[in-house]
């Protein structure tokens, strides 16, 4: 746990954002946006980077394979564009926003485990050129996402 907090603070200072800590388990970064299917988005002008959240990788377990989309392919908000495989199961990754894929994290082909060890940094999955900046409004901020995760976990 201590190692995680250290990592989170390092990430936070590197990204120059503040960290919202939850009482337990996962890290939720303040300046990112979140989808209810557990993807995070970082907006930079008309470009967006996404990946899966710390909460997601924690529940998934060891990631052994990441299915990446082709460059140039279009993605739509809420629709699947790839998959993340853990030792025991496969999960679709849904696009939190619509756009065109301009970069994929090829490093994940050799080191899928980065999704676990660094979900917000080295474990980023794709970058897209936004087609509709307004869609970002539909996403959750860090507080709402933290609450969403707590409620989801509490149900079970």
């Amino acid at each position: 746990m201590a190692a995680r907090l250290l990592w989170a603070s390092r990430v936070a200072s590197h990204l120059r954002i503040s960290v919202a800590q939850r009482g337990f388990a996962s890290v939720v970064l303040k300046d990112l946006k979140y989808a209810d299917s557990h993807e995070w988005v970082k907006i930079d002008g008309n470009k967006a980077t996404f990946g899966i959240t710390d909460h997601a990788q924690d529940h998934l377990g060891d990631v052994v394979y990441v299915e990446l989309p082709d460059l140039g392919r279009s993605v739509s908000q809420g629709e699947s564009f790839g998959a993340v495989e853990s030792v025991k199961a496969t999960s679709d990754i849904n696009s939190p926003v619509s756009g065109k894929v301009v970069e994929v994290n090829e490093v994940l082909t050799e080191s899928p485990g980065l999704v676990n060890t660094s979900p917000y940094e080295e474990g980023w999955i794709i970058k897209v050129e936004l087609s509709d900046a307004g869609e970002v409004e539909k996403l959750m901020d860090s507080d709402k996402y933290s609450k969403f995760c707590e409620e989801e976990d509490a149900k079970h």
Binding site: S37, H55, A56, G61, D62, V64, E85, V87, S91
Partner: protein, 409 residues
């Protein structure tokens, strides 16, 4: 991430592991609420050690602990693992005729087993298909000890009971005792024997793979079998349930932390690496032991005489060869999973995957499944469809990781 509910993801994981529990008539067993699930004697012990508990075959079992499934799987082969398998069902058959009785239900040459020796066997149905696989041990000519899968407990016990009634009505002397007063633990890996030796006066170096002994371990009378489900040297220990926690603690302490509590997630990875069938995935009601590559388990005398359910079908397959065979696969891309189609290089369907995943010890994808006889040779290039896309693969022999059973030199 699909579905939005990560708890559902955890459930889908257990759904894959719980394939053997396919009983629509008892919905209570499927994803029952916490209140309905049975707990083993080690439940609190698991939780205290960080166990992530999930429903499995009607029980609340640890799928993993604080270490990842990958680390846990590797640790078993480097050091050792302690598994709680108390959800499985142990029973004893007793009486003058317990051996001929059991022979009507399984393919093993039970009469030919030396006392204190056991083997993997298959309970068959009238069509020669597998009702369950089981490790049976002939303790003496009048006592057989056997362990069956948790997910098949009700089915197996009903089957045995029905046949026992018929057998007894014809004057046969057999009775049973189901060992619900005992808990089964599995200790596997290179440290299993040295660690266990600290806890018993009996010389374990004389107990070889497949052998059984009733002895004192850590102060209680245990049934000990040198067997397991990982391919490693190790033991299955049936201990009186009131001593199960103490025994688990003692084992972990004697290993100085090198032997770790290990969950069902790693257990599945280990047995897959060892090329062992998981009933419900790689073996089912419609699959015969011959098709499953378990012809070695059909006793020589049994192949000549039959006398077990479905013998006519099985004997014919032994003569003509089966039409499908279980084989191993390596593949590129995402891990092949149960129900993935297997195609030949020209795109014709030749089979199906029944179990697959990423091998933590080999660091590559492994899988097992069935292909048409004739297409089953090692080295055969195949294409495996995962989520609609074909990926290169080839058929390979099993086990994927060499076994280390303790056998006399």
């Amino acid at each position: 991430m699909r579905g939005g509910s990560l708890w559902q993801l955890g459930q889908s994981i257990t759904r894959r592991l719980a394939q053997s529990d396919k009983k629509p008539l008892s919905p209570r067993r499927h994803f029952a609420s916490g209140a309905d699930l049975k707990k083993t004697a080690l439940y609190d012990f698991h939780v205290a050690h960080g166990g992530k508990m999930v429903p499995f075959a009607g029980w609340s079992m640890p799928i993993q602990y604080k270490d990842s499934i990958i680390d846990s799987t590797v640790n078993c082969r480097v050091n050792g693992s302690l598994f709680d398998v108390a959800h499985m069902c142990g029973l004893s058959l007793k009486g003058k005729d317990c051996v001929p009785f059991l022979e009507t239900l399984v393919v093993a040459d039970v009469a030919g087993l030396a006392p204190g020796t056991g083997s993997l066997t298959v309970f068959t149905n009238e069509k020669g298909g597998a009702i369950d696989d089981s490790v049976i041990t002939k303790v003496t000519d009048e006592h057989i000890y056997l362990v069956v899968n948790a997910g098949c407990r009700d089915k197996d016990l009903a089957h045995i009971e029905e046949h026992m009634k018929a057998f007894k009505s014809k004057g046969g002397d057999v009775s049973w005792h189901i060992h619900d007063e005992r808990s089964l633990l599995a200790l596997q890996g290179p440290l299993a024997a040295p660690v266990l030796q600290h806890l018993t006066k009996e010389d374990l170096s004389k107990l070889y793979f497949g052998q059984f002994q009733i002895l004192d371990i850590n102060g209680s009378t245990c049934f000990l079998t040198r067997t397991g489900y990982t391919g490693e040297d190790g033991f299955e220990i049936s201990v009186p349930s009131e001593h199960a926690v103490d025994l688990a603690k003692a084992i972990l302490e004697k290993s100085e932390g090198k032997v770790r509590l290990t969950g069902l997630g790693a257990r599945d990875s280990l047995r897959l690496e060892a090329g062992l069938c998981l009933y419900g995935n790689d073996m089912e009601q419609h699959i015969t032991p011959v098709e499953a590559g378990l012809t070695w388990a059909i006793g020589k005398r049994r192949r000549a005489e039959g006398g077990f359910l479905g013998a006519d079908v099985i004997l014919k397959q032994l003569q003509d060869g089966p039409t499908i065979r279980r084989v191993g696969f390596f593949s590129s891309g995402p891990p092949a999973r149960s129900h993935s189609e297997v195609h030949d290089e020209n795109g014709n369907k030749i089979g199906e995957i029944t179990s697959g995943g990423f091998s933590p010890n080999l660091k590559k994808n492994i899988a097992m499944g069935y292909v048409k006889s004739g297409q089953h040779k090692n080295g055969t290039k195949v294409k495996i469809l995962v989520r609609g896309k074909p990926y290169e693969g080839n058929i390979t022999k099993m086990p994927f990781v060499a076994t280390k059973y303790y056998k006399p030199t």
